[in-house]
């Protein structure tokens, strides 16, 4: 099953709506609740990152019998140093993002913690691609 959701940069009132849809789908498929939570927490962190940092993005979801593969691609400033961005506490978030309760530099490490596989690539001034894979078994 494949699904595609659009993510609007800067629109915090809609941030999380794509992850919420994925949660509903996984619940309907009777996936283990602990795996649903791990998956949607990582997707939500990624979705908030797109809203906080990029102009626009997409969340492409592919659900198989044994796993979920999600690719989040955005058009935005990109990440110059991914190793640095993966360190807890490192953040380039704006005051507006911090007012929403984010921007503590914990998003990417938390995505890694909540996913079985995580791949990230980024080009400065082009955008970032993040792949999250979680297994149901």
């Amino acid at each position: 099953m494949e699904f595609k959701f659009e993510i609007e940069g800067g629109n915090f009132s809609k941030a999380g709506s794509a992850s919420s849809e994925v949660k509903k789908i996984l619940k309907q498929l009777n996936v283990n609740p602990k795996i649903i939570k791990r998956t949607v927490v990582s997707l939500y962190e990624a979705e908030v990152n797109v809203v906080a940092h990029a102009f626009e993005g997409n969340m492409n979801v592919d659900i198989d019998t044994d796993k979920i593969v999600v690719k989040i691609e955005d058009r935005g400033p990109g990440i110059p140093d991914i190793d640095q961005a993966m360190q807890e506490g490192y953040s380039t978030a704006t005051p507006q993002v911090r007012e929403m309760g984010f921007g503590a530099g914990m998003g990417l490490p938390n995505i890694k913690r909540n996913s079985d596989k995580m791949n990230i690539t980024s080009k400065v001034d082009v955008g970032t691609e993040l792949e999250i894979i979680n297994y149901f078994g």
Binding site: F12, S13, A15, G16, S19, S20, K23, P33, K37, V40, V41, Y44, E45, V48, M100, G101, F102, G103, A104, G105, M106, G107, N110, R113
Partner: protein
């Protein structure tokens, strides 16, 4: 364990959205205005105690399977927040105490810290 009715009674609080079952029991409490911190918690049956009143408080709770939110410092949930909370069967409670006082009272009546 504390019951929703005890939270409401001891904090002079009000339930503004929820199932209406005041006898539901809650085991743990976690207090934070930082949703990034909340998203790292892997504990079930949790009351989120926060002064952050925006939609992302509800979204964070939805993703984290948090069924109870207590707003402190007299913060009021907006109509959109209530709608999203109701849709996700999240109980919203409001009180006028500071976060410190609310946590102190809740711990005294048996709500446990996550760590």
């Amino acid at each position: 364990m504390v019951k929703v009715v005890d939270v409401v009674d001891k904090l002079n609080a009000r339930v503004i959205c929820g199932s209406g079952d005041m006898n539901q029991e809650i085991q743990f409490g976690f207090a934070s205005d930082l949703m990034s911190d909340v998203l790292t918690i892997d504990t079930e049956n949790l009351l989120l105690i926060t002064g952050l009143n925006n939609l992302q408080t509800i979204r964070t709770s939805e993703m984290s399977d948090i069924s109870f939110i207590l707003f402190v410092r007299d913060k009021k949930a907006t109509v959109e927040m209530k709608e999203l909370a109701c849709e996700n069967e999240i109980t919203l409670i409001e009180c006028s105490h500071s976060m410190f006082r609310a946590c102190s009272i809740l711990n005294e009546i048996g709500l446990q810290p996550v760590y």
